[in-house]
Amino acid sequence: MAAMAQKADRGRPGEHGHAARGGTPRPRVGVVKLASCDGCQLTILDLEDHLLELSEHFEIVDFPEASSARSNGPYDVLFVEGSVSTPDHLRRIGELRKQARVLVTIGACATSGGIQALRNWADHDAYRAAVYPTPEYVESLARSTPISEHVSVDFELRGCPISPEQLIELLTALVTGRRPQLRDEAVCMECKRRGIVCVMSAQGIACLGQVTQTGCGAICPRMGRGCYGCFGPREQANAAGLARWFQASGERSAEEVGQLFAGFTAYAEPFRSAITDLGGTRGARRSGGGGFIAAGGTGAGRASYLAGTRRMEGIDDDGR
């Protein structure tokens, strides 16, 4: 069997594991979370058709969302959901890394900092004071950051939430000792293969599919709305070029274009630079003026996506 991980060739799965009914030891798997909504963990639980097969190949030793079993490691494979958002997370992630031979970050929070990273453009103390009656009880870091900013990561599964197909592919690759086949290409490729009409060219809807990594099955364009980038930027994503086109062609202001990138993976480069170049997030600009209410997520960017969901009713007379 070939080595199981690309970056961290830390031995073979099952090194720490217990044998299943006298067979070879099964790799010990943990699933833990930092700052996140648990949605990616639910994706694991939703693999109903595969759970039995998975349990033959993996020993789940730690998965608070699913079982009362607890372990502090070591793990052959450790899935980590959530961003590093508190001093406690900062301490834990270093420890978890030491315990994990293969560390897989799952979801937009773990891989990019998540929606909570919108605060990275804002005054953290002002946010805290606006949201919590007694902010001194809340220990949080000024920035929400991806796990890869703190420790080395062997594999990433993107998305909000992650894709079950990609999860199965990664697990299969881990157990068979080959590289996972996760395409790094634009969502557009999936749209075209599925025969989905481009919502941007045909309807003028703002769509981030061109700069966003595939894996979701183009679910938003399939539903007639624009991609909002929850799988994060793909390799060499030309976010600046797209931002220029949005401004030049789409009658959108710089602020509106910035909001298009200010979603679940806002803090991942090059989305991060695009947002900063276009003036930061909406909430950040407002927070300076006092009386701030955390309204960033429902600002102009969100509104324009919702406007985009309007399907073309009938056919325009003049082609506009």
Binding site: T172, T176, R183, C188, M189, G195, C198, Q203, Q210, G241
Partner: protein, 665 residues
Amino acid sequence: MMTTEITRPERTTTAGRWYLDRAGLDDLVAALAADGRTVIGPTVADGAIVYDEIRASADMPHGVGDVQVAGRYRLTKRDDARVFGYVVGPTSWKRWVFPPTIELNTGRRAGHRVEFAPIRPRPERLAFIGVRACEIAAFGVQDRVLDAGPFRDADYAARRASAFIVAVQCTTAETTCFCTSMGTGPEVESGFDLALTELDEGFLLDVGSPAGQQLVEGPLAKAIRPATPVEVYTAAADVAATRARIGDPLPTAGLHDRLLAQLDNPRWAQIAERCITCGNCTLACPTCFCTSVVQKTDMEGIGATNERSWDSCFSPGFARVAGGSFRSRPRDRYRQWLTHKFGTWWDQFGTAGCVGCGRCITWCPVGIDVREELMAIAPPIALSPEPTRVEPVAASFDDFVVAQVVATRLETADTVTLTLSGADPAFSKGSLGQFAMVSIPGFPPLPISISRFTVDGIELTIRGAGPATRAMCALKVGDQLGLRGPLGNNWPIDRAVGRDLVIVTGGIGLAPLRPVIHALAADRRRFGDVRLYYGARTPADILYREEMERWASRGGIEVHLTVDRAGPEWEGRVGVVTQLFDQAQWEGANAIAFVCGPERMMQATANTLAGRGVTTSRIYVTLERHMECGIGLCGHCQMGRFFVCRDGPVFSLEQLGDTFGREGI
């Protein structure tokens, strides 16, 4: 608008031409369905004209038009009830003849044995209604790429042959149309079974094939009547007006040469600031044929299904090999696409890769117009292309022949030579420098150089660098694997007869040259001085050590070795391989050189050889590219006008010209 172009007699004669009224479209759809065909035609969906299955003419657009400019597509209402009053939309017929995803084959490991089984679906019988002239031209281009040999995509051929084509003459045009410039339209002239030209209340119907004639004489007989001269003239005038409306937006005279002379144009970098490299242009294109194979495996790692999907040269991973991508920058990928479509495609297939349908312009999300870019990049200049070289060898895309490991030899700590027997008999006709596609189910097939031809098989020398190569290195005697080949071209050893031969290589690069050395040693008198210059990382990494001593002692071959680093026990040279012949006394005027190694090393070697008088036509190199099919069908190994797998991997520097060593090709 009338023009003087409607003078061709076949256009204006009424003999054998028919009139079908609009209601007769239902008879046409019904007749095709009754013939057991799935009928595909234009429909309105999601704000666009989308080709899809239709059951009656009511499923088709009535009174719908379109407006298309770069990056923008909108449907409009027409003030008539025409069914074909628009031009091409986002779908192309390649969706049916070259589907986005097909299953190729399955593989299975059972103990030491492996099995492969091709999946050959029986395509359904199809009928296409509403095929435009540019789209018929696109079939022609795809036929040349996928079905003109020496290797064929059987799946494509079967689907293509099954389709009944009802063409439509374009009586409208959009700003994105440039079929006139590419010589593909708007007139439909051949390649159809029936052709329609839409008139106010019906259609002029032309017959283009015996199958079309059968329909006209049989099920459609009651729905048609002979066309009147007015109908025939009106139809011809409308199509001519379309031609006049399009004009000649892309002057193509000498475009191939003009474009290929502009590989260094600064415009490539400027386009890359706008281009998102999303790949929409390539997947909307009716002729783009690049694909990738993804292997789906079970969790036991013994069963696998290979699935082939549309891919794009714009995706960063498309030209990736271990160590990086050959076209790492977006500008490289845009240049690759544009120079292929309008330049090197001619060299490979005798036609442009573009039919002027304009899809890549409309569906570019950021509105890049290829016509503008071509005119900005390519000023007039002349170059003459070299003919490409094709080596026909029996093989198919989706099958492997099982061979058995009969011996293994550990060459170095990470490199193993497998001796295989029972391989495809074609290997016995293989030549020096060719490779095989090697497959173990569960891992992607890889191209591996043949390092020796034996009586009933071959040897492969493999360095375990990644999971698949490590799995191959781990094979034991009695294990099986799948082979396809021999593939690619060979070292031109005949050219070395009567000349001195210089072989320069390093590391695993010696493997494809080993058969050359065996051949030289077997017929040593026919060649002049033969010198082998070989570099390895350390003394322990030197391949074929014992054999090499025999080459020197009994084969009459000068062997010069160097290593990158060594301990005190090494008494030989340390340094890069080119330093080995810096001090040598020979002259290169009569020499021919075979070079195999990393591109940078080959460049340095070529420079040194040139300094000794070895001209570019006598320096041969072997190129590495990402290969999936090995037979020029998948597009991964595209390099300028060559497929490295089919036209190479051995090329003379003269052939490669200024593409050799250039970044991002």
